[in-house]
Symmetry: D2
């Protein structure tokens, strides 16, 4: 039997993996980034056991292609999620480090 803490960790990680792969590739620009952030936050906040979700997409990486926009990449994500399962909580994050979109248990 998994503990509440393990389940809180499990649920946080599901959402990080999901949001990463659902939205990577979305056309984006500095002007539209907030709408995409809002859509991702609204999607994740519907999922079970989520108590908080914050998504920031790094506008400094939204360099324009020849048609004047960019695509959401793993490098742009800065996400912090909190989950609660029974009495246990988990805070976890997604952030680009050393060329990799690292997902980590924060506490």
């Amino acid at each position: 039997m998994a503990t509440d803490r393990e389940n809180a960790v499990f649920e946080a990680a599901i959402k990080l993996g999901a949001l990463y792969h659902q939205f990577v590739g979305t056309p984006i620009s500095r002007a539209t980034a907030e709408k995409v952030e809002a859509a991702i936050e609204s999607a994740v906040s519907l999922q079970p056991y989520v108590t908080s979700i914050k998504v920031r997409l790094d506008k400094s990486l939204m360099n324009e292609n020849p048609f004047g926009y960019s695509e959401l990449t793993g490098a742009m994500y800065d996400v912090v999620i909190e989950t609660k399962f029974g009495e246990a909580k988990c805070r976890a994050g997604l952030k680009f480090e050393n060329g990799y979109p690292m997902m980590r248990i924060l506490d």
Copy 2:
């Protein structure tokens, strides 16, 4: 050599195929549908040759799963897009018909 009209048609269809597969699976509910619509419209409007994009997601199909939300499916989409290439234009749509997310040239 493709004509301007063929290119306008081509560009409209790319966006319909793209938005369909980019966003299917996104967690959604009647309360968050408008944020997802806005994000899809903002993404498509960045892409080349798009002059207009309207995305409506059918809330009547957003039935709640055991955790109280739904997932964006092909059946929910109602999209009309307009493109312009050179002097030529295309209006095309995506709408569920007879169990299939039909994409069509409208004019």
Copy 3:
């Protein structure tokens, strides 16, 4: 500091969330299901801390739309993944239950 067991759980869940949202919507049929299973397994097996991944897609749900194929939905997935982090392991699964694609820690 997270324990090895928590990290093993975390890593398993990331992959389940990721594969679900990466591949939902893929055109599929009974004839092509095995190629999609193989691609999903090959993708997941590359990710860190994965020691085993088994993906079965339920062909009985691959009912033909008017054009003779289907789309990969959450209901079709039957996945078991094993991860190892330090000395700790996790086995977790994704399976449709009561209208929901449940992801669970199996042991």
Copy 4:
């Protein structure tokens, strides 16, 4: 009313837009690239009006991240698709050019 040629063009473009956004972000390596190519080809070949689909993913761009794999990006795609609608045909392609995944009508 759209002509058969316009519909053949339209159908080719839908598939290019779709495959791009469905599979971008998939974990991939030189060793697994062929399985992903096969899955994409099998998915596209199911869709209406497709008579031929060839997908090549550029292994030279599959540089290893710190965990030893890569992610499918727009730069890796080299796709040629053929469609037929009524008596008309279209051949179209997706290939990275000048920092952009260009989709074009080829003839």
